[in-house]
């Protein structure tokens, strides 16, 4: 049996992802696993596919719902592959766990939706907490999810005071070393993120994915 990237079975997985056959993708991953392909080779095929989807989104050939569906298919496939990856002793498929929240009072959600989909596509476990959560509750949720990173999105200057509460409350709750804090969204500048005590800032979703890799690795 051939297991390299040019293999038809693996190529079909990549193509199905790129073509957004999102129902077929997890099924194809499962079949490939059943016929003896190493889990890692399947993950690689999926990754090539989802990266192309991400590029097409940036080029406006694909749209936000496409990205969300592709990320969902990636998630489902990873659920199927996870046990095999652990068995093969490959670094487990998930890159880290992130909670994302819009800070209190801010209902803008387009940027957070994009960030969530891109991170899921990149293999992170993402819990989108939505909006209007008090800073302390965001921390409770991060604990519940056993998150590595708390990502805060704010487009309103008047909601920034709630963003900076998160690092401050982490200190007060003796949890500052437990989580990395990332900030983004139109109202946040790199200077502000530093002043607010965040560990990182990204100006768009692409940079956000890179940032999360760094933050998770830095833990």
């Amino acid at each position: 049996m051939k297991h390299h990237a040019n293999d038809d079975t693996l190529k079909r997985i990549t193509e199905a992802m790129v073509a957004l056959e999102t129902d077929a993708v997890p099924k194809l991953a499962e079949d490939a696993l059943g016929s003896g392909y190493p889990a890692q080779s399947i993950v690689d095929a999926l990754t090539v596919g989802i990266n192309t989807v991400g590029e097409k989104f940036e080029a406006m050939e694909y749209f936000l719902p496409d990205l969300i569906m592709a990320a969902g298919a990636m998630d489902e496939s990873m659920d199927i592959l996870r046990a095999a990856l652990t068995r093969d002793d490959v670094a487990v498929g998930k890159k880290g766990t992130i909670v994302l929240a819009q800070v209190q009072g801010d209902i803008h959600d387009i940027g957070r939706n994009i960030m969530t989909a891109m991170l899921r596509a990149a293999g992170f476990t993402v819990h989108d907490l939505g909006h209007d959560l008090k800073p302390d509750l965001i921390i409770d949720k991060a604990l519940d999810c056993n998150a590595d990173v708390i990502g805060l999105s704010s487009l309103l200057t008047t909601s920034l005071p709630f963003a900076e509460q998160v690092p401050r409350l982490l200190v007060a709750r003796d949890l500052r070393a437990r989580f990395q804090v990332a900030m983004g969204g139109g109202a946040v500048t790199p200077e502000y993120a530093v002043r607010a005590g965040a560990d990182g800032y990204a100006e768009n979703a692409g940079a956000g994915v890179k940032l999360m890799h760094q933050l998770v690795a830095g833990r």
Partner: protein, 455 residues
Amino acid sequence: MASVFEVLRRAENGLYIKEHDFDMKLFKTTSGLVKEHGIKFNKDLAVAKDDKMADSIFEAGLRLATEMGMFSTDTSRIIEFSEQELLQALRLAPQEMVLGLGKDARVLRARRFGDGYPMIVCGGCPGTPLPEELFLPVMMSYAREPLIDLLIPGSLTKIEGMDVTTGGPLEIRACRQEMIWVREALERSGRPGLHIYAAGESSATELGTLAICNDRYMRTSDSHMIPVLSELKTDNKRLSRVMTGYEYPAFTTSLINPIIGGFGGGPEGAAIVLAAAIMLATAAYRVDMHCLHPIHNKYISVSTKQAMWVDSVVGRAFARNAPVALLADAWTTAGAGTQEILYETAALAIAQETSALHTDSLGATNGVYPNCSGLEARFFGEVAHAVFEQKLGPEEANDLVLRLFALYEHGFEDPNLGMPFPEVYDVKLIEPKAAWLDTYERTKDAIAQMGVDFR
């Protein structure tokens, strides 16, 4: 037509749906309508000229509005409207409004092609966070520009050195102070009766709007804003603004931000979503006018070709099928003091004037930095009036816009944010500094060379 109470009843008892399912249904339905009507965005067109396509977008918008309704995020219910209710709401929408008072009053019309009236120019820096010490001078820089017909305020984000927080008590104080200073700016500029558009920009919740419903702050000749959440959604805070307007007879305007590349899909879908949102906001909010603001999912600015086209084709669609007063935002990537902002301004002014739109102001740097001033708003007015007098058709307008686009396109990846107000204006005299004035004059000459007749 459904009463305000009927709308609230539907928000409580309408069909239940998960928000995610609503979003996905919207994507499916919109994509289907784009295909069915053969609507196609052409990257060489920023100004729409195809009447048939505009009519299709109106038809498709009506279908989308009836099939989707408006989703209430607080109750997860759909506020449905029949086609007849939507069309009736559009028919009853005001065709002419007197905004402002006395000699400073202006007539805002639902525009039609060839009706002989130029656009109404709104100036200001909508929602841009301004420090307390700059608020009054920045507002005066707009108030002094005679071509500005309406004034939209910036946002106060600090009061007595304290942060204004969303939903906090200082939102009340900030909105009242905003109104006191905007009025002072108008009085000191000899235009005490000018209409204040979207009053209460300093509050992200309904608190600020409630706080200014008083002649001392927002007069009944002014207006406040009720956003539609993207896409085709509302919530209790938005509906509270509707209720605020129920007994206080100031004018109201919607704010609609379809995301290009978002749940509606590309520019074609975003245009259909925008048309549907105008219909739904007219029926559910009973607003008198609409603020249109399509967002490019990567570059945000309205000066992208996609966003200009979305506004343009929707302007054409309504002017032909059901005229209502539409004010399009003209948000630029660049900031005050740069040549780029003036090129973006000119492109937007031309595209909007020739698409039966009014303008709802120029948001320099997409409303993020206080790098804004009255001078670029003056320029907007000058260009818009010039092309109106020239009777520029959509084809010539499109040629000009594309040539201007080539001059500022580089800024999307690498924005020239320009300078904060005090660096481009003399803050005491409220006059542009020599360097900014010089850039303005040079750019105006260059644009005159391109065929805009400023006489």
